[in-house]
Symmetry: C2
Subunit: 453 residues, 2 copies
C-alpha cells in the first residue's frame, strides 16, 4: 500500500478514536506506527487534535513521543514539547540522539530550555550542552558526539567484540580508528570487517587519512562532502584533530533539504524557518519586514514615475507601456538570480566561473532585450500608431534587461564575498531595481524624444 | 585543508600543466584525485580547457574519466562524453553503475545514444537498456538492478561467504532476502550479520515485510521514504513483488537536490535542468518561452491600464501609485506561492491541511492588506494632498493582497490535483495576475470615485 494511503487510514482512525474518547485504542494505534509515519499523522491533524494526541502519547510512551517530535517539522516539534513540564522533558530528552535533542531544545521557549538543560546537567546528560556550545549551522552543532572509535592496535576480532558490546550500534557505519591521544588516524568500513580474518590488526586494513570535517565547518559544506564523496558518515574533529563526533547521512539529508528550503524561502522574502504549519500570526509577523521594504521601494519607484508626470500628462499611453518594461525586467532578473543563487548553493559557481556566468547572463540579457524590445516595439507602434513610441520602448527594454542581468549576477556575488547569504538578494530588491530603472529608462527616453511622440 | 582550497590548488596546477603541454604530469595529477574532486576541477575549468583535460584523461584512464563524468553536473557530463566515438563509450559505460550509465546515456545526442546502446547490447550489457524502459523520474529508472539478494534458508555464515564472493560489495548496506520466486520477504542489515552466530538461518534474524517501493513510484516519493525512515537503501519491486533493484542513499541525495533545484528554477520560470554551466545559447532558448509568456501577459496588464486612459488623463498621479498596488500584490503572492510549493514538495501539505493553509494565507493577506493599505494611503494622501486618493489606494491594496493569497494557494493546489507540477504556477503567472487585478482594482475604483479625486 502506498505510504500516503496508509497514513491517511491511520489519520482517519485517530480522528475517530479521539471523537469517541477511546484513549486505550488510540494509544494502541499511535504506538504501532513508525516514528516517521507518526510524525506525518501528527502534522496532518488539526492543531487542537494534534496537541491532544501528542499529550496522550507522551504520558504513556515518552520514548515514542520524543522520537515522533524529532521526526516532525522542527518548529512544530518544539511547539508540541513546549506545553510539557520541564522535569518530564529533562527525563525524556536523553532517549533521543544528542543532536536531535539539541535541535529541539534550542527551539523551546528560552525559559523552558534553560530549566530543561539545568535539570539534565544534574543528571550528567551534558552531551547536549556541549553541542549547543558550537555555533548554529556548524558541523559541531549537528554532529552526534557518541562516535564509535577504536585504537589502531586492536584486531578485527576485538573490534567486532567491541561492536557487539556497544549499546548504540544502529547508526554505526564506519569504525573510526584513533591514536592514543584520540586523534583520527584511519577508518574501516563495517563491510571490510566481514571480509578479513579476525586476527588482522585494524592498522593493517584501515584507510589512512580519512576524509573529515571540523567542528566549525558550516553544515552545508560538511553535507556537501558526504554527498559528493558518497559517504554514509563523516567524522568531525576539533582544532587538534581529535575526534569529536560524527555526522551520519540521515542528518546530511535533513541539512540538504533545510538549506534548499531556506534558499527558496529567502529568495521569495520569507523567513527561512516558515513552513505551511507556521501559525498565521507568526507568518504575518515574519513576512512583514519584507513587505515593508517592498512598500518603501515601491514608493521609490512611484516617485520616479511622478518625476515624469508632465511627460505622462502629454502622452498618457506611456503609463500603460511603462509597466511592460518593468515587468519584463523583473522576471528576467528573477530567472538569473535563481540560477546564480542555486549554482552557488550546489557549489557549481566558484569565483573563476562567476565571471563566465556574468558573461553568459549579459549575452542572454542582451539577446532577450533586443528580441522582446523589437516585439514590444511592434505592439506599441500598432497600438499607439507612432513608430518613435515603439523605438523608445525597445531601447528601454534593452537597457532594463541588461541591468537585470548585471544586478542579478553581481548582487549575489558581492553578498557572498561579504560572507552574507546570497539568497538575501531576494526578489524584493531585484524587482525594485528593475522597476525603478525600467520606469526611469522608459520615461526618461520618452521625455527626451517627447517632440516625436 | 578545506576542500575548496585543495580543489583550487589542483585547478591551478592543471591549468599550468596544460599551458606548458606536460601531458604525462597532467594525467598524473588528474588520476590522483577523488572522482568527486576531479568533477569539481573539470566543472571549474573554462570550456576549452575542460574538453581538452577530459580528452587526455579518457584516452589514458577510461574508468576514471567515466567516474568523473558521472559525478559532474549531468548536462556537462553528457556534453563531455558527446564528443567521443560510440565504440569507446560502449566499452567504457559498463564500468559505471547501471543507473549512472543510464542517466548519462539518456542525455547524449539521440543518434549517439542509439548506437552506444546498440553496441552495448551486442556485448550483453543490457542492464542499462532495462532501466531506460522505465519512465523518467521513476524509481525503476534510477535504481541499481544489481541488487544483493539471498534465499531465506541460507545461514549467516553462508551469507558472509556470498558477500565475500561478490564483486560489487561497496554499495551493499542490507542483504535482501527473497523466496524461491524472487519475491522480497525480508531484510538483514550488515551490522546484524556481525552480531549473531554463523549457523543462524537468515530467516530467523531478518526483518519481515521490509519497507519497499515500486518501479513505477515517482523518484521523489521513493527518496522521501528513504529520508523519512532514515534508511541507507530501499528495495524496488515490480508488480509481482519481485525484487527488481535497489536505490541507495547516495542516489537519494541526488534526487533530493535535483528536485529542490527544479522547484526553485521552475518557480522562477527557468527550465528545470539549467545550471550555471549551461551555454548562453541554450539558456537563452530555454528561458525564451517564459519571457514570451510574460510579454504577452504584461501586454494584457498594459491593456487594462489603457482602458482607464481617460481616468489617468484626468488624475495623472494615478500612473505612479498604481505601480505600488501591483508591486505589493506581486511580492506577497510570491511569498505565499513559495511556502505552498515547498510545503507540497516536502510532503507537509496534504489535502486536509491545504484548506488550513488557505485560511492562514487569507488571514495573512487581509492583515497585510489593511496594514499596508493604511500606510500606503497615508503616503498617497501626503503626496497628492487628497484623502480620497489614499482611500482608493487602501481599498485596492486590500483587494489585491486577498487576490494574491487566494491565487497563490489555490493555483498550485489545482495544478497538483491535475497531476501537474505545482511549481509551474510560477512567478510569471502569479505576478501577471496581481498586476492585472491590481491595476484593475486601483484604476477601477479611481474611475468610480473620480469626482472626489
Amino acid at each position: 500500500m502506498p505510504r500516503r494511503r496508509r497514513v491517511d487510514i491511520v489519520l482517519d482512525s485517530v480522528k475517530r478514536l479521539q471523537r469517541i474518547g477511546a484513549t486505550a485504542n488510540l494509544l494502541n494505534v499511535l504506538r504501532k506506527q513508525h516514528p516517521a509515519d507518526l510524525a506525518q499523522v501528527l502534522g496532518d491533524l488539526p492543531p487542537v487534535e494534534r496537541r491532544s494526541a501528542f499529550a496522550t502519547l507522551i504520558e504513556h510512551d515518552g520514548g515514542m513521543a520524543m522520537r515522533a517530535a524529532a521526526e516532525i517539522d522542527r518548529e512544530l516539534g518544539a511547539e508540541l514539547l513546549g506545553d510539557r513540564p520541564a522535569d518530564e522533558l529533562a527525563r525524556l530528552f536523553p532517549q533521543l540522539q544528542p543532536d536531535d535533542a539539541a535541535a529541539l531544545i534550542d527551539r523551546l521557549p528560552e525559559e523552558l530550555s534553560a530549566s530543561v538543560l539545568d535539570l539534565m546537567r544534574q543528571r550528567e546528560a551534558d552531551d547536549v550542552q556541549q553541542l549547543l556550545e558550537h555555533d548554529e549551522r556548524t558541523a559541531g552543532r549537528i554532529m552526534n558526539p557518541e562516535v564509535f572509535a577504536l585504537p589502531e592496535s586492536l584486531s578485527v576480532g576485538g573490534a567486532i567484540a567491541a561492536l557487539q558490546g556497544s549499546r548504540n550500534v544502529e547508526m554505526v557505519f564506519y569504525l573510526y580508528v584513533v591514536d592514543e591521544e584520540n586523534r583520527l588516524v584511519g577508518v574501516v568500513s563495517l563491510r571490510r570487517l566481514l571480509l578479513v580474518p579476525a586476527e588482522t590488526p585494524l592498522r593493517a586494513i584501515m584507510t589512512k587519512e580519512p576524509i573529515r570535517t571540523r567542528v566549525e565547518t558550516h553544515q552545508e559544506d560538511a553535507a556537501r562532502e558526504v554527498a559528493d564523496y558518497n559517504l554514509l558518515a563523516i567524522p568531525v574533529v576539533d582544532a587538534d584533530d581529535k575526534l569529536a563526533g560524527v555526522i551520519t547521512v540521515d542528518d546530511v539529508i535533513d541539512v540538504i533539504k533545510d538549506e534548499a528550503t531556506e534558499d527558496m524561502l529567502r529568495l521569495a522574502g520569507v523567513a527561512a524557518d516558515e513552513s505551511v504549519s507556521t501559525s498565521p500570526f507568526v507568518a504575518w509577523r515574519k513576512r512583514l519586514p519584507w513587505l515593508a521594504i517592498n512598500l518603501a521601494t515601491a514608493v521609490l519607484a512611484a516617485m520616479v514615475v511622478q518625476r515624469f508626470q508632465a511627460t505622462i500628462d502629454r502622452v498618457v499611453a506611456l503609463a500603460a507601456f511603462m509597466t511592460i518594461v518593468a515587468s519584463m525586467g523583473g522576471n528576467a532578473a528573477i530567472q538569473t538570480l535563481t540560477v546564480i543563487v542555486r549554482g552557488m548553493a550546489l557549489g557549481e559557481l566558484t569565483w573563476g566561473s562567476s565571471w563566465r556566468a556574468l558573461g553568459k547572463e549579459v549575452v542572454v540579457g542582451l539577446a532577450n532585450g533586443v528580441l522582446f524590445g523589437v516585439v514590444g516595439a511592434g505592439v506599441a507602434w500598432w497600438s499607439v500608431g507612432n513608430p518613435y513610441f515603439g523605438g523608445v520602448l525597445a531601447l528601454a527594454m534593452v537597457i532594463n534587461l541588461l541591468v537585470a542581468a548585471f544586478a542579478a549576477t553581481l548582487i549575489p556575488m558581492v553578498l557572498r564575498a561579504l560572507r552574507a547569504d546570497p539568497a538575501l538578494a531576494s526578489a524584493v530588491f531585484i524587482t525594485t531595481l528593475t522597476d525603478v530603472l525600467g520606469f526611469f529608462a522608459f520615461l526618461g527616453l520618452a521625455t527626451f524624444f517627447l517632440p516625436f511622440l
